[in-house]
């Protein structure tokens, strides 16, 4: 099927990230777990060797047909470099164990680790190198880095971080954000050096689901802006929650694209970013748990109708595809994007009704 299309996945996604018009709407799917199923391993076994993750991601992309591959292991990976422990399960990505910062006072003596010295993150870099070698020119390799304002959620728990942010010591807040900023920049640049073509900066704290706009403007966005500027490659801001209420501010951070929440209105977000960044989203990954193939196709059509006209749109979802969502269903999503998401030369969708 891909051979019939005008671009490779890499070209399609790169084009969209440059705000030019690709042959059709690209599809970005993020799953840390489907690769394990592709290579027939349990999740703990899958994450044990970098080769497994690279092989699993390639097979997953070949089967489903989406436009990215990535060596994203699981969200706790970066916190592991700070000493956190991942809690594995058989049915989904590992969750977070108890926080490593147990009281705000511990921030005073916290040392930010070097991501390159972490065995957990070295494995991610090895997977990224392997993927980059195999994906070259075919798929876009996406590297995932936790943003400086959201890494503290994993390090100290969201309630302690929220309390420090809103009511706590300003000097401790600044110190923690300096540590996490250095870490985010170093990690993102390491991923780029290993062969990632773009960075998904996972930063739910910029979404208005978590933090109100005025608070984000005052406390968080300047920090994110400095980090984005220090990253030596294209950055997609992955907000996870709703971003419509801050969408007008996000291109000013220097990002190439912003991800949305299923509750965001894609048309309104596109208006707000005003051609200064591409918009990702349109699909609700947690709703996929109960979708039929027809539901999936209907969801794709709704998303394309709202987000695709004029270009600057990448069909995607808010966080991570649940393990129990089948690859067949995901294939239907990509197929629907191929069918209904083709552009004419002016960036309008071709009528394929």
């Amino acid at each position: 099927m891909a051979a019939e299309e005008g671009m490779t996945s890499f070209q399609r996604l790169s084009t969209a990230l440059r705000m030019a018009i690709p042959d059709r709407v690209p599809v970005v799917l993020v799953s840390t777990t489907h690769g394990a199923r592709e290579v027939g391993l349990s999740l703990p076994e899958y994450f044990r060797r970098p080769e497994n993750v690279a092989e699993g991601q390639i097979r997953f992309a070949e089967r489903v047909g989406h436009d990215n591959v990535d060596a994203y292991y699981y969200v706790v990976r970066e916190a592991e470099a700070f000493g956190a422990e991942a809690a594995f399960s058989e049915n989904g990505p590992p969750g977070m164990g108890p926080p490593v910062i147990r009281s705000p006072a511990e921030i005073d003596t916290l040392e930010g680790p070097d991501p390159l010295a972490s065995p957990h993150l070295k494995a991610v870099l090895q997977s990224t190198e392997l993927l980059a070698r195999r994906a070259r020119g075919r798929w876009l390799v996406l590297g995932h880095a936790l943003g400086p304002c959201s890494l503290p959620i994993l390090l100290m728990g969201i309630d302690a971080w929220m309390e420090l942010l809103l009511f706590g010591s300003a000097s401790r807040r600044r110190r923690l954000l300096q540590i996490t900023s250095r870490f985010s920049v170093a990690w993102a640049n390491a991923l780029l050096s290993a062969g990632a073509d773009a960075i998904a900066l996972v930063e739910p704290m910029v979404s208005t689901t978590l933090v109100a706009r005025d608070q984000a403007v005052r406390l968080l966005l300047p920090v994110v802006r400095r980090v984005v500027r220090a990253v030596r490659g294209p950055v997609i801001l992955w907000g996870i929650g709703a971003i419509q209420g801050v969408a007008d501010l996000l291109p000013g951070l220097g990002v190439r694209a912003v991800s949305t929440d299923p509750g965001d209105d894609l048309l309104e977000v596109k208006r707000a970013v005003a051609g200064r960044a591409a918009v990702l989203g349109g699909l609700n990954d947690l709703a996929m748990l109960s979708w039929t193939p027809d539901d999936a196709e209907a969801a794709v059509r709704r998303a394309l109708e709202r987000g695709a006209p004029g270009g600057g749109f990448i069909l995607s979802h808010q966080l991570e595809i649940p393990f129990s969502v089948s690859s067949d269903l995901l294939g239907r999503i990509v197929e629907a994007a191929r069918r209904w998401g083709r552009y004419d030369g002016r960036g309008e969708l071709q009528d394929d009704g």
Partner: protein, 211 residues
């Protein structure tokens, strides 16, 4: 005073809220009256605001923290004189260490007159059920941020059935339940609530159904 307290909640003004309660205490207004006539109505009022607009968690959390402060300040005198609405055992699902939602819901339920037994984070299903039975609780409330942990709440229902705790109601909440509106049924819950205020409304509704 109620309006000033409500304004403090809306402005996330923790110090301002404390000041109002201190002033009230200086004027010899007793804790029960303050809870009944100032704190509880303000919590209900701000909860109704949330039905009209999408509030950020940071705002909701600030309100939760202020309500927690008030409860600490007022609770000794309230506890001795007011009849609680019912007992709720609350915790985050096993494997989930995200306790913010639980903390806010617990504070709101307390402000609304419920007695809340907070078992903390990553609570085993059997601990939730056994403690609920031992405490004579009428509701078990479980929150989860991670999908896997949310799906694990089905084990709480199994445990309730195994131990014969069928009169206790199971209330669930957290992001997976908001994104997938049918998930609460999948895990065998009796209800879900999208925010702390709705948790009060839903808990009352569950109690009515028990009676």
């Amino acid at each position: 005073m109620r309006q000033r307290f409500l304004d403090a909640l809306r402005a996330s003004d923790r110090r301002g809220a404390r000041r109002i309660l201190r002033e009230a205490r200086d004027r010899k207004i007793d804790g029960s009256t303050l809870m009944r006539e100032v704190v509880a109505p303000a919590v209900e009022e701000i909860g109704r605001d949330w039905r009209e607009e999408d509030l950020s968690l940071s705002r909701v959390y600030a309100v939760g923290l202020i309500v927690e402060d008030c409860l600490q300040f007022l609770e000794p005198s309230v506890r001795s004189s007011d009849k609680p609405q019912g007992k709720v055992v609350i915790g985050t699902a096993r494997g989930d260490y995200h306790g913010l939602g639980k903390r806010i819901v617990a504070a709101f339920l307390r402000a609304a007159g419920f007695t809340v037994v907070d078992l903390g984070m990553s609570v085993a299903p059997e601990s939730l059920v056994e403690r609920a039975m031992a405490e004579g609780a009428r509701i078990i409330a479980v929150s989860a941020l991670m999908l896997d942990a949310a799906l694990g709440i089905a084990a709480v229902r199994s445990e309730m059935e195994r131990l014969g705790a069928t009169s206790i109601k199971l209330l669930v909440g957290g992001a997976p339940f908001r994104y997938n509106p049918d998930l609460w049924k999948t895990v065998g819950a009796d209800a879900t609530a999208p925010n702390a205020y709705e948790a009060i409304v839903t808990a009352r509704w569950l109690l009515e159904r028990q009676e």
